[in-house]
């Protein structure tokens, strides 16, 4: 995934689309953001200078699906193998019924990409029929996070099998990239040098957040501002 911060307007359509696509629950009172669940959070970064040098940018943050050798930080610490990385697709996923809720992965994740269900999710009655059947809802006491809309990959692969195409060539777009009105989010196969996302990852504007930790995130950001690059290497 590549996210062009110069194009991002901070409208948060990606965040909302993600919430709707993945049956992410919300609380009756969402004013306490400390306990709310967001798979794709949008950060507001500022360069800390006074007018007229003041600049700011928005930074949408999905799960980085870290590509570090052998393990991502979260999969390395999981005591029950509830979160694993599929070495074929490269996607890090979390199996909810297997999770024991120790939250070790939340601590291990340097990107704060994981959330914990402190309560059983509840939706207003009228909303229950709008839940997506393609994503299982979570229960109290488990961790959840962005899956790069993995269910869309499964569907795309399924269709590729039926059409007689190589399933490893199947492409799909996650909900956030689909919803972005400025096309700031590009999704594709980083291993395919011809794909747009692979080209963007080699762009001189490209950087990865907390690259110094060698977690090898699979989400690339693009910004022409050096102060954004610098801030990306700091802790949030």
């Amino acid at each position: 995934m590549a996210i062009d911060l110069d194009r991002c307007t901070g409208c948060m359509a990606c965040s909302v689309a993600c919430q709707a696509e993945n049956n992410v629950s919300f609380r009756a009172d969402e004013s306490d953001k400390l306990r709310s669940i967001t798979w794709l959070e949008v950060y507001h970064l500022q360069n800390g200078k006074e007018y007229p040098d003041y600049q700011f940018t928005y930074l949408p943050r999905p799960c980085m699906h870290c590509d570090s050798p052998h393990h991502s930080p979260c999969t390395f610490v999981c005591p029950v193998n509830a979160t694993t990385r599929d070495e074929v697709s490269g996607i890090v996923n979390h199996i909810y019924p297997r999770c024991i809720g120790c939250r070790y992965c939340i601590v291990a994740c340097p990107y704060h990409a994981r959330d914990f269900n402190w309560w059983d999710p509840k939706w207003p009655k009228s909303m229950e029929s709008m839940l997506s059947p393609e994503v299982s809802t979570r229960m109290r006491g488990v961790v959840e996070k962005c899956t790069f809309c993995h269910h869309r990959l499964l569907k795309a692969r399924s269709k590729a099998y039926l059409d007689g195409i190589d399933p490893n060539e199947a492409t799909y777009v996650p909900a956030c990239a689909e919803a972005c009105p400025t096309k700031a989010i590009t999704f594709g196969n980083l291993l395919d040098p011809e794909s747009e996302v692979a080209k963007l990852s080699k762009d001189p504007r490209a950087f990865r957040i907390l690259a110094k930790l060698n977690t090898e995130p699979k989400v690339y950001y693009l910004s022409k501002h050096q102060w954004v690059h610098k801030l990306g290497d700091n802790s949030f």
Partner: protein
């Protein structure tokens, strides 16, 4: 001497009691409990696969263009032939009067229904030339639907495929066995 004798006979009686209890526990665990665990439910009406031999399997069990599989046909499929009863069988009377005339879908109980957090797609399995009967029962000579056994605790069918069977075959065939291949 007397005391020793007493304790020895006590041991014998205790052994018999233990053995008897053990047998009872085994009978309960092996025969009574499995029967208690599953309740047998009848299907809304009988469907004879034998009577439908003039049509091919994929006339009713077919793929959708988006790669999903429609396992059980909808009522429209039945109406094509059964708008009025073709025979005088009881199951056909139920079909026509209860469902077709009321335009209500038949609430079939699906023998292989998977839990909500499972993603299963027929397409890759068909592409690998796996026979239907490797996972499903052979229906080619079936005139009467078998009873549906429902687990009283989980609510799932007894013949729902277990994860161990999926994993085993995936490992043998060299398929990806990562959790998220089947879980959503």
């Amino acid at each position: 001497m007397k005391e020793e004798k007493k304790s020895a006979s006590g041991k014998g009686v205790g052994g018999i009691f233990f053995f008897g209890g053990f047998i009872l526990a085994l009978i309960f665990g092996w025969i009574v409990f499995p029967n208690l665990l599953f309740s047998e439910k009848a299907q809304p009406l009988n469907f004879s696969h034998v009577a439908h031999q003039d049509s091919t399997c994929d006339q009713c069990h077919s793929f959708n263009p988006d790669g999903t599989y429609s396992g059980i046909p909808r009522l429209d499929n039945c109406v094509e032939c059964h708008e009025s009863p073709m025979t005088s069988e009881e199951s056909e009377r139920i079909l026509v009067e209860e469902y077709i005339q009321k335009q209500q879908e038949i609430p079939w109980k699906v023998y292989a229904w998977q839990p909500d957090n499972v993603f299963f797609s027929h397409a890759p399995h068909q592409a690998k030339n796996i026979e239907c009967t490797q996972c499903h029962r052979d229906v080619s000579k079936e005139a009467k639907l078998p009873p549906y056994s429902e687990n009283r605790l989980t609510g799932y069918s007894k013949s729902t495929m277990k994860m161990i069977d999926c994993e085993k075959c995936h490992a043998q065939m060299g398929a990806n066995n990562n959790c998220q291949v089947c879980h959503k």
